[in-house]
Structures are given as C-alpha cells and as structure tokens.
Symmetry: C2
DNA sequence: GCGAGTGATGTCATTAACTGACATCACCAA
DNA sequence: TTGGTGATGTCAGTTAATGACATCACTCGC
C-alpha cells in the first residue's frame, strides 16, 4: 500500500490543493515556459483536475498572482493606523516600511524565479501592471479619504507604487543583499531629494 | 448585379479590411458587450473571416488598441525635437502639447464609446495599462538618453503618463468642452504647483 | 450513532480564442 | 506572358474557460 493511498483512506482529498497548484505551476513554468505549459499538465502534476485548477484561479495567469487581498492590506494597514493629518509623504514611508516585512530574504529566490517567468511573457506583465494599478487605486482612495486633494492624491499614490516597484526590482536584482525595507527607504529618500531640489 | 459584385470584379478584396474590422468591432462591442461578441461575429459583419481578423490583430482585445506606434510617436516626436539640456518638466510639457493634436474634438464621441467599452471589461483595462506602461518605458528611455538620472527619469516618465491619463479621462468626461491640450496644460500646472509648494 | 446537509472535488460537454498549413487569385513587374 | 507577391479563404487542431451535474468524506444536530 502506498503512502498516498494510506492518506487517501484518511481524507477525501489531499489538503493544500491551492498551494500545490501554485508550486507545481511555478515549477513547470520555470522549466518549460508559461505558454508551453498547459493547465491540464499543471493539474495532473498536482494530482488534481483541470476543473479544480479553475475553481482556485480565475485564469491560468492568476496562479502566479493569487493573494492580492493580503498584498493590498500590507500597504494599507500602516496607513489606516497613522494619525489623521499625517502628510502624504509620511504615509508612503510607513506604507513601504510595513510592506517590506512581506519580503523577507527567504522569499528572494522564489521572487526571482517568479519574476523571470513574468519577464518572458507579455501576458503576465499585463497582469502584474493590473495588480500594481489596483494598489495605486486603493492608495489614492485612502489619500482622498484623508482630505488630500486631487491631483495630489493620485500623484502620491503613483509615486508610492513606483517607488515600491523600483525597489522590488532592485531587491531581486543579481547580487543585491539589502532588505526590501532598506532599499525602499533609499529610493524614497532619492525621490524626496528630487522634489525638494 | 450588386454594387459589391461590381467592385469584386475590379478588385480581389474590398480595401480597408483592417479599418472595417475596427469599426465593426466597436459597434458590436458597444451594442452587445465585449465578452458577448465573438470574433466570428465581427469578421462576418465585416464580410471577412475569423482568420483574417487574427492576421490584422494579435488578439481580440487588440482591435481596440491598434496604432500603438503612431500613438507613441505622438509623444516622443516633440521630445526628439527639443534642444539638448531641456529640463524634464519642459519635455513633458512639449510632449503633452504635441500629443494633444491627436485628440481633436471630432474624436471625442468615438473616444467616449471606446472608453465606456473598456471601462466595463477588466481584460481591456489590463491592455490599456500595458499600452500606457509602454509609453512610460519609452519616455523613461528618452529622458535617460538626455542624461536625466534615475530615479528622476522614471518618475518624470511616470508623472507625464499620469498627467496624460488624468487629462484624457477629463477630456471624455460628460459635458467637458475644453480641448485636450488645454486640460493637459491645466493638469500639468497643478502638478507643478504641488511640487513647488 | 445516524441522516441531512456542506464543501471540495471529479466528470462531461461545450464554446470560443487562437494557430499552423496550405490553397486561391487579382495584381504587378520583368 | 508568365511568374512572383500579398491579402484573403479554408480547414483542422489545440487549449483556455465555463456550466451542469455527480460523488463522497466530513460534520452537526438529534
């Protein structure tokens, strides 16, 4: 009797289907490319069916982008906790600082593989832009709620997301050792210097 | 003998297949929605085949976004013509001013229909973001070529694209009468005021 | 314990986006 | 005249995505 069939006697399904699909997909995409990998292959390798894949992820690309809600909260929680009247620049600083915690060093190898997959596929870059745009919209809303007027609110949100994006790309760059928070702080300071110059 | 068969005797194909597909697609999308319209329907309504549609447009969404090259040139030509040493802000001002010419009042109704279609479909918003991102990348390159250092180059490109996007949305807003150039100038001034404050 | 629900999964059928290979045929240039 | 070219058509195939219905371990109230 195999280990798998033993487990199968204990539970109807193996737990963690979603995570298994994500890990399997990442592996297959890295090995054979995004386009060359079919959803059927991913599902089969994860010992599930294609239909189950699409129950967990709205489309094939989404398997690389799940967890959007958590991602947004990372940035917005520090802003929610800031006192009223905090200036936009300080809100961005806190937001980036808080989000930095989501990118511990252990994640860097994973992030690099993921980024290299996304980098080879325009369709995936589109999705990434959409996710960043969603973050931008959310930040803009929070700023406006705090009586920061347009166009300052949108521009501040834009700047915040840009700083994050630039920092993230540096974080996963070859040889980079510094933490996400350190890099983001440096980028933010550079922007501040730019504006005040 | 029909008009069509007369023309058919004179030419193997009706000219302007691409434009016909674009106009037909816009019409059908507006009437029945993007998802509800199939490529086969568009092609048939334009008296062409599905295969021909995909020869002109890489995918179904692209029929609403063709002409990317011309669009980019609109923004970059004024920058190419500016003298060396022109500051980033002035480059953006010229770029927006030049691009404004691409949005004459006659285009507003078309732009409104198009925008309302895009607004209802996340997949189309993704594509639009990708196009704007391409513009941002191109502007960033031009700025860096002019010895504007990072992160100023990327931030300036970002700001320019944001101003354009905000201006465009205002241009197609209900009741708006001003020209694209006027609106863009106002938005740019607002941003400048913000930075210098 | 036991029977009714619940939830994650499987099965099956179908649609529609997209692609490759090859055919057609007016036009044009040598 | 003839041979090449380019835009289109035809056809077959793959795969992403979705709806409808079945299954069955688990759980909760009794």
């Amino acid at each position: 009797m195999t280990v798998i069939s033993k487990i199968a006697r204990m539970a109807r399904w193996q737990p963690g289907a979603r995570e298994r699909l994500q890990a399997t997909a990442l592996q297959l995409f890295a090995d054979h490319g995004f386009e060359q990998t079919t959803v059927a292959q991913i599902a089969h390798a994860a010992e599930l069916t294609e239909r189950t894949f699409f129950r967990h992820f709205a489309d094939k690309r989404e398997v690389l982008f799940a967890g959007q809600e958590d991602f947004l909260d990372l940035f917005t929680d520090p802003i929610d906790e800031a006192p009223a009247g905090t200036p936009a620049y300080e809100l961005i600083r806190r937001s980036l600082d808080g989000a930095g915690g989501f990118f511990p060093d252990e994640r860097r190898p994973f992030a690099r593989v993921r980024a290299s997959i996304i980098g080879t596929e325009p369709a995936l870059q589109e999705r990434e832009l959409a996710k960043l745009a969603a973050l931008k919209v959310r930040l803009g809303e929070l700023f406006r709620e705090r009586a920061i007027e347009e166009p300052a609110a949108t521009l501040a949100a834009e700047a915040g997301v840009t700083i994050f994006h630039l920092s993230f790309q540096q974080w996963i760059a070859e040889g980079e050792q510094r933490s996400m928070s350190e890099i983001a702080r440096e980028r933010l300071d550079a922007m501040a210097a730019l504006v005040s110059a």
